[in-house]
Symmetry: C2
Subunit: 354 residues, 2 copies
């Protein structure tokens, strides 16, 4: 066999973001923001006037464009694939629609064992090729110094959507399935975990340097339920990805789950504002990187309040390598874009290594 | 002055519930359930067919009837005043309506300092006399062996409703007021705290043996915000009540707040299912009683699953005095009444002192 030709180490490998993900010291604290391309931004709204959300997600060129515009405008340290959590469910047989008012609706939700049986195994990414194309086009347009984050919903969050059929306050359908038919539940979660694994590995092959797993709805569970019904499946996904790329494992809604989120895996653990960042990092252990955790509502306050909050968070990190600044959840649509820019500037200014 | 005539110690003082609230050993683990009189019960639905929710709350006779019916049907160890969190806001100048679909709506929400100025001080309970009447009539109809719980919304939860004007996913209005105008925020919270204090002391004078403070929405905050913007006000309420009656301080949605909820006060701390009960009690310290924390969705599962969960919770308590069984939040409307009865029976059977 011929040896591979010596390849140049890509510039993104030495970016503050990738260094933080590897817990190496860097010149500055990297920052990116969940939903950094979104309705709060005029350029995004202009695109959405002509295109529905699902059309936008399925148009790689436009998806790349809205993300690259946001990255340039904000000066953040990473791009994230512009996509949605749910289109992965379509090739699995779920009938997804984004309604104007209610958000995502699944017209044939999974409620019992026989519904689980009709969930199709995801064997390839042919029907999700638009996502891989969006990864390629975003990577192509992106500054070589910046990494591109791929992402997917974690199995529990995908299962919640698939079972509830839409958003929920009580998550009663998903919990009832879990509590009354554990074999059907585990079968569904295994199928979702395999699908997410294929999907994320596909994004990495297409050009993503790191992937984030979003367990946005898992905070409705207590620790025992998480351990029994969720942890093994999320762990299977994460184990199937490493060491191809670092995994950011993000969960929101319940600080009592942080030790278990950590146990399930991830090179970086993403936390929300419900817990102090220093407490969370102590719980996780300093052998992992951490991401978070400003309350998105702070971005609706004044620049001086935003700067005060950035200071508070950076003080909790105390210059320790392995920290990525982010919100605890996505940017709210009502956020003034100049406040987001002020936040990014504040993190760069105050998070500079003296 | 003449000495008071020797008064008989009322039977409720030696009930398992009051003993648990004082952390004294009792013959059995007491159980009651948040929303034990509610839409899941046919008798309640029959009343509501003829009466709107607000009419029911303002009718002391019917309020007493729906609660006494529930207590008898379920065999629980305490009654709770049938009332709503929000009517206290009406004499303070807020225009409250219960709509059929959206739930409570406040037509003149508080958004800024000038709105806070128009919030009227609650100086007496004349306009809330129906609540005191409901306390008296419930106490009158209730078995003397059972205590009656009065209740109110905690200042933060009342402020959230008053500021958001209805339910919310992000609590952005309330947080924006808090973050951008702390003096206006504290002024609102002080006014609410004084009102809640008058209200709960009035319920105790009218015949309640214990009161529960509901901080149902506080889980949207992180620990630093809770300490800065909420804790002093909740503490003021609780300090103004003790030692007239034990206070159950209940909060939901964020286990990272448990130490601070405890610090704010309460003879009994109520927790939801997002945290293990044994972990929560260890955090609180065994010098206080604890209440909780079954996930209400478990009541939609089978009797065997309900019994398994009761066993798990009782095992965590390990026979320590000072435990009151409850859910982590209110009974869901979809709950079969026979499952609630099965739960109460299971707690009584398995929680009996050998």
């Amino acid at each position: 066999m011929m040896p591979n030709p010596p390849s140049r180490r890509p510039a993104w490998e030495d970016s503050p973001f990738m260094k933080a993900a590897r817990r190496e010291p860097a010149d500055r604290v990297p920052v990116w923001l969940m939903r950094q391309a979104g309705r709060y931004m005029a350029e995004y709204r202009a695109v959405r006037e002509k295109t529905s959300f699902l059309e936008l997600c399925k148009n790689p060129e436009l998806s790349a464009e809205v993300m690259l515009t946001a990255v340039e405008k904000l000066g953040v340290d990473a791009a994230i694939l512009f996509a949605d959590l749910l289109p992965i469910l379509e090739p699995m047989g779920l009938d997804l629609e984004f309604t104007a008012n209610e958000g995502p609706v699944i017209h044939n939700p999974i409620r019992q064992a026989k519904d689980v049986d009709r969930v199709r195994e995801l064997t390839g990414l042919e029907r999700l090729d638009f996502v891989l194309q969006a990864v390629r086009q975003t990577r192509e347009g992106l500054d070589e110094c910046l990494p591109l984050i791929g992402f997917a919903g974690a199995p529990f969050t995908l299962a919640s959507y698939a079972v509830e059929g839409g958003s929920s306050r009580t998550y009663r359908h998903v919990k009832v399935l879990m509590y009354t038919d554990p074999p059907a539940w585990h079968s569904l979660m295994e199928r979702l975990a395999r699908a997410v694994s294929i999907y994320l590995n596909g994004q990495i092959a297409a050009g993503a340097q790191v992937v984030q797993l979003f367990d946005s709805w898992v905070g409705c569970l207590g620790p025992d339920d998480y351990r029994r019904y969720v942890l093994p499946h999320t762990r299977a996904v994460i184990e199937s990805i490493a060491p191809a790329a670092p995994v950011i494992h993000f969960a929101t809604g319940n600080p009592a789950l942080v030790p278990l989120i950590n146990e399930a895996g991830g090179a970086v653990i993403g936390v929300d504002w419900r817990v102090r960042l220093d407490d969370a990092w102590r719980t996780i252990g300093y052998g992992k990187a951490i991401q978070g955790n400003l309350d998105p509502v702070v971005l609706l306050a004044s620049h001086s309040e935003i700067r005060r909050r950035v200071r508070e968070i950076l003080d909790q990190v105390a210059g320790r390598p392995g920290y990525i600044f982010n919100l605890g959840h996505g940017i709210l649509p009502q956020t003034p874009v100049e406040n987001v820019i002020a936040l990014v500037d504040a993190v760069h200014e105050m998070g500079e290594r003296a």
